[in-house]
């Protein structure tokens, strides 16, 4: 039963091998709908898994499976995101990563429940549930930002964008906040919940019992997923908002209306607020965890979280005040503007900027075993080359290597069956006769009524 629930809700939540529908669906939906889909809809799958793991007898091995799937899925999901060129597909793959993180945290909580590790189990469960909220907030913020970009320029291809901060400063600022949050960097909210999960793994690793060994690879994989998320989003923010515009559409972009900017501002404020008052959020999460596992009650906010909360506020204030003071001081000193120095390559065309494809190149090379980037290349030939071409496409490995072949196989098998149905009445009468004969034989042999 539990496995079936995991499969069903897992399809909905879209964790790694079951995510095949997610990137395409989230990328094609209108952006505000993508925001709700990513922020809320896939969390219904997570909710289902949480509820069912509370009700159903959890088979042994389920917790380790969930941790493994979640951790590996987080790394693979984000690595696939890293090689995307479509902004919204990147965001969708990042959802796969975050659901992986959540799943790994939940698996850890189940593991703790079965091995009696109340202290770290609470941390893991609270971290996972908190990450559900955090992911909803910053992913909605990012999707709204991506939607503004799409609206302003008409393209989601990062290689055609660039330099949008000039025309869309507020969207760029909101997207930057989302980027910091999604990369799990202090002092924003994605970091707090990831830190809780890290801490749970650290405490689990110190206990040396049974299947807790799974905490060791999980922690490393979580770190790799975090570093990949940082890489993926510096690529997204860098190619879309920074640098110089790569196309006319990007050059003539316009800022979004007040409604969009207001929504982004509210989400960004929540990203900061949830992060800077972790002690206010903890009781809520602890209440939910207590409901999920009635044994884990009491023992207020962990001391470490209180300390971290102080750090969060301190760092936030320091960055804001220090950044403001630094900016003011630099402003008064003044500066000169010049072309990008770049070791003397003055004024290349803007299309010579590092593109999103090249940015993901190293990760793509590391991923070649899973998803070879498909290339169509026609090199320039001769003294006066007439044309050249370079097309790159990143396939979705699970969909195109696993699901589609199975689908094609099924379709082939069905085609063979379909030859029986050809519309010739005489043959249908023969089928009926043969069927009747077989029934008669069956009744005869079985002794019949």
């Amino acid at each position: 039963m539990f496995w079936l629930a995991l499969l069903g809700f897992g399809l909905k939540a879209g964790f790694f091998p079951l995510h095949v529908w997610l990137p395409a669906a989230h990328a094609s939906a209108p952006s505000h709908v993508s925001a709700v889909m990513s922020g809320v809809a896939i969390k219904m799958g997570v909710y289902g898994i949480v509820r069912f793991s509370g009700w159903l007898p959890v088979p042994p091995g389920a917790a380790v499976t969930m941790v493994t799937l979640g951790a590996i899925g987080a790394v693979t999901g984000m690595a696939l995101g890293m090689v995307q060129n479509d902004l919204k597909r990147l965001l969708a793959y990042c959802s796969v990563e975050n659901v992986g993180v959540i799943l790994a945290g939940l698996g850890g909580a189940l593991l703790a429940a079965s091995s009696g590790g109340a202290a770290w189990g609470r941390l893991a469960a609270a971290g996972a549930l908190w990450h559900v909220w955090n992911h909803g907030l910053f992913k909605a913020l990012l999707f709204l930002g991506a939607g503004s970009v799409l609206h302003a320029t008409g393209t989601r291809q990062m290689s055609r964008l660039g330099g949008l901060w000039r025309n869309m400063p507020w969207t760029a600022a909101g997207f930057a906040v989302g980027t910091l949050a999604v990369a799990g960097l202090p002092p924003l909210n994605g970091w707090v919940s990831e830190w809780l999960i890290y801490l749970a793994w650290l405490e689990a690793a110190g206990r040396h019992e049974g299947s807790v060994w799974v905490a060791l690879p999980a922690l490393t994989l979580l770190g790799m997923a975090g570093a990949l998320a940082l890489a993926g989003f510096i690529k997204a923010a860098g190619t879309v908002f920074l640098g110089l515009p790569r196309s006319a559409a990007a050059r003539e972009a316009h800022e979004s209306g007040r409604g969009m900017l207001g929504a982004m501002a509210v989400l960004a404020a929540f990203c900061a607020g949830l992060a800077w008052a972790p002690t206010a959020v903890w009781p809520v999460m602890a209440g939910v965890v207590e409901c999920w596992h009635p044994g884990w009650r009491g023992a207020g906010t962990p001391d470490a979280l209180v300390e971290l909360g102080k750090w969060q506020v301190g760092l936030g204030v320091l960055l804001a005040a220090g950044g403001g003071a630094w900016w003011g001081w630099m402003r008064r000193r003044g500066w000169r503007r010049a072309v990008t120095w770049d070791c003397g390559y003055a004024a290349p065309t803007t299309r010579m900027q590092y593109s999103s494809g090249s940015f993901g190149g190293w990760v793509g090379a590391g991923l070649r075993w899973a998803c070879g980037v498909e290339r169509q290349v026609r090199r320039p030939r001769g003294v006066f080359p007439e044309s050249a071409r370079w097309l790159e496409r990143t396939p979705e490995p699970v969909l195109e290597r696993l699901v589609q072949p199975i689908g094609r196989g099924l379709a082939g098998a069905s085609a063979w069956v379909r030859r029986l149905q050809h519309g010739r009445l005489q043959w249908y009468v023969v089928y009926v006769l043969v069927g009747l004969g077989a029934l008669v034989l069956l009744v005869w042999e079985g002794g019949g009524p």
Binding site: L185, A205, G223, L230, D303, L319, G334, W335, A338, C343
Partner: protein
Amino acid sequence: METLARLAFWLVVAPLLPGLINRVKARLAGRKGPPVWQLYSDLARLWRKGVVLSRAASPGFVLAPAVAWVAVVGAAWLMPLGPAGGPVHFAGDVILVVYLLALARFATAWSAMETGSSFEGMGAAREVSFAVLGEAALLTGLLALSVRSGQTHLEGMLAGSAGAGAVLLGAALFVVLLAENSRVPFDDPNTHLELTMIHEVMVLDHSGPLLAAVLHGAAVKLLLFAVLLVEAVLPLGEWSPGAAAAGLAAGVLAVTVGVGLVESLMARLAFRRVPLLLTTAFLLSVFALLVAWRGGVS
């Protein structure tokens, strides 16, 4: 007061390290070399200089070096310093250190993307991609320390005895130190115009106080990794305060000279090999972790 003393230690001592490395390199090459305090005068000079910004750069370009500097100094401040211990310690502060360094990496890569130059974009891409392996090696190494000591905060993790995995862990952390601080087998801090650079290339368009912040932050980061390496390998917590302080100083000096030696005796690695070397560091960390894990059971 203690906070100020700690900050002063990190901020003032850090620029010595690059100077020492350069001195070692110069001696081995038979040159006299720049004075050890060269970086201090460089920083003072840069601080007075004017700033030239790229036309492509947004206000983020001015803010990013400050953010990176604050993040690195914050991470350094959290580190325990031998006999003095840590300024605060709470469970999981070790993850905060790792992520503050990640924040610094984010800010540097951000300002590299600001300039719209393909060269600097390339540096940013390499930096963040290699960091995936580097972070795995670093976290696994820290996890080994945590498993061995049974503690989840830096002060407890770094105080204890080195244990059997110390050599493995030390080697792994040394490779991570070289990678994170763009030293030789990964990157050559001497070159500015070669296409095989990771970190240096990201700051090509910084000038004046912006460059000073970047350079000083890099020095603090080098000192941070050196202190981490020494404290992870030597059981400073079991020594008397004087011996621990001396051990820490000697260890940091030894690491610095070691970096200088590596830099003089080795060529930079072929670029395709870099992930391989980082994976080696990761595997060393994994073995150190296994040693710690088995050691805890018996």
